[in-house]
Amino acid sequence: MPLAIAPLVAGCEREDRQYRADPPLLDARGAGRQYTLGERYLNNAYHLSQGKRLYASFNCRGCHFDGGGGIGPALMENRWIYGGTIADIVATIREGRPNGMPSFRGKITDEQIWEIAAYVLSMSGNVSSAAAPNRDDHMQGRPAENRQPTPPPPGDEAPKLLSP
C-alpha cells in the first residue's frame, strides 16, 4: 500500500505553476546561489513543458535537432562535454562554449534559460518521469521525454542504444 501511494504523493505539485520568477533568482544574476534553485525546475511539469516550447521557439533544433545531435552534440545520450548538472547546462546556454555554442546571455531571460536547461536534462531521462513532457504538439520524432530510461550513473560504460 505505501508503495502504491508513494507515486501519487511524488506526483503532487508536479504541475505547480509559478509564473513569476523568484526574486532571489532575479537578484542574483550569475551568482552562485541561483544554483540551488535547479531542483524546482527539474521536477516541475510546467517549467519542463515551457522549456520544451522554448527549445523549439529559439531553434535549438537548428543544431541539436530533436536531441539526437547533428551540427551540435547530441543531448539525449547522457554524455556531457561540459558537465551534466542543470547549473552546467545553464552556464553552457548563458555563456556559450567553444566550437560553436553561442552565448545567449541577455538574449534569453534567466528564467527561460533554467527552463530550457531542465528540458535538456529531461531528454536523457535525468528528470522525474512524472514531470517530464509526455507528448509533442506536432509529430513525435522519438519516444516522449517521460519514456526515456533513467540513465546509468556517470562513469559507467558507453550508453546503450535506446530501444524505440
Partner: protein, 321 residues
C-alpha cells in the same frame, strides 16, 4: 478607447451573419411553439383527469382507442417532419454560408497561438504581404476568406456579429468567409478553451470603407520609421539589445523573430496582449514591467529592465504607428 464594440450573433453585420441569425430565430420560434403546445396538452391532461381513481384496465372502448391511436400517430408524424425540416434548414443554411468557395475577394491567414492571433495578409505581389496581430482590418462589402491554422492547441475563431465559429486545429487548415456589410468594430473571441489565458484571447475586426482600408494597408506594409526623438532612439537601442528580439519582429530593424506578435505597427493597434489592455504608453509600460501579473501564464516573459530602459522602450513601441 475603441468606440462601440459589437459582439452579438443576434446583431449581425454581414449577410452570412444575417442568415445565421434567421436560423437562430426560426429554431427558437419553432421550438417555442412546440414547447407551448406540449405544455397546453399537459395542462389539459392534468385538468381532464380520469373520472375514477382505479379504472378497470381490461374495459377498452374500441372507438376511443382508435381515436387516440390516430392522434398519437399524427403527432409522431408531425414531430418527425419538424425535426427533418429543421435539420434540412440548418444544413441548407450552413451549406450556403460555409460551402461555396469565393474566388474573388481578400485572403487572410490567421494562426492561433497561446494566447494571441497572428494575422497574415496575403497578396499576389509578395512585397504587399505583411503580418500583424490581434486586429484584422477588412474593407466593407468585399468578401473575405480567412484560412485558419493553429500553432499549439485547438482554438476557435468567433466574431459573432460577422460569422459563426470555426475551429483552428493544429496540423490542418480550415477556412471561414464573411462580407462585412457596414463599417464598424466587431469584437471576436477564442471560442474553444485553450489554456490559462483563453479568456484573454480576443481580437478586433475593423470594417472600413475601401479608401480607409487601403490607407491602413499601405501604412501596415511600410517598415517601421526610424525614431527621431532621443528617447525613442534609446528605446530602439534597448529593444534591440534585450531579449525582446528573440521573439518579436519590427520590420525595418534587425529584430525579425516570428515567435511572438509582430510589433512593426503595434502603436496603431487599439489593444495590447490580445484585447487584455487598451493600448497606450502607460499600458505598454505596465505590460513590460509585469506581464505575468497582467496576464498570468502568458508566453511573454518578465525581462529585467532599468526604469530608463522601460520608459524608453514603451515610448518607442507606442510610437510605432
Amino acid at each position: 478607447m475603441v468606440g462601440p464594440l459589437v459582439q452579438s450573433a443576434l446583431d449581425p453585420h454581414s449577410p452570412q451573419g444575417e442568415r445565421l441569425r434567421d436560423l437562430i430565430w426560426i429554431f427558437t420560434a419553432v421550438c417555442g411553439v412546440v414547447w407551448l403546445a406540449v405544455m397546453i396538452a399537459l395542462a389539459i391532461a392534468v385538468w381532464r383527469r380520469r373520472a375514477s381513481a382505479a379504472p378497470e384496465p381490461s374495459a377498452l372502448e374500441r372507438a376511443a382507442e382508435l381515436r387516440l391511436t390516430i392522434i398519437v400517430g399524427a403527432l409522431v408524424g408531425m414531430t418527425a417532419v419538424t425535426v427533418l425540416a429543421l435539420t434540412g434548414l440548418s444544413y441548407a443554411t450552413q451549406k450556403r454560408v460555409l460551402g461555396r468557395p469565393l474566388a474573388a475577394g481578400m485572403a487572410l491567414l490567421v494562426t492561433g497561438h497561446q494566447w494571441w492571433w497572428e494575422v497574415e495578409y496575403k497578396d499576389d505581389e509578395p512585397a504587399r504581404t505583411f503580418t500583424t496581430a490581434n486586429e484584422i482590418h477588412v474593407p466593407v462589402g468585399v468578401p473575405v476568406t480567412i484560412r485558419l491554422r493553429a500553432d499549439d492547441v485547438i482554438h476557435s475563431f468567433w466574431v459573432p456579429s460577422l460569422m459563426g465559429k470555426e475551429d483552428l486545429i493544429p496540423g490542418r487548415e480550415n477556412s471561414i468567409r464573411f462580407t462585412a456589410a457596414r463599417a464598424g468594430i466587431y469584437r471576436g473571441q477564442c471560442a474553444e478553451f485553450c489554456g490559462a489565458q483563453h479568456a484573454h484571447m480576443a481580437l478586433l475586426v475593423v470594417a472600413q470603407e475601401k479608401p480607409d482600408f487601403d490607407a491602413w494597408r499601405d501604412g501596415q506594409i511600410r517598415s517601421a520609421d526610424d525614431p527621431n526623438e532621443p528617447e525613442r532612439q534609446k528605446g530602439l537601442a534597448a529593444f534591440l539589445a534585450k531579449p525582446c528580439v528573440m521573439c518579436h519582429a519590427v520590420r525595418g530593424t534587425s529584430a525579425a523573430a516570428r515567435v511572438g506578435p509582430d510589433l512593426t505597427h503595434v502603436g496603431s493597434r487599439m489593444t495590447l496582449a490580445a484585447g487584455t489592455l487598451p493600448l497606450s504608453r502607460g499600458t505598454l509600460a505596465a505590460w513590460l514591467a509585469d506581464p505575468q501579473g497582467v496576464k498570468p501564464g502568458s508566453q511573454m516573459p518578465f525581462v529585467q529592465l532599468d526604469p530608463d530602459e522601460l520608459n524608453a522602450i514603451s515610448a518607442y513601441l507606442e510610437g510605432l504607428k
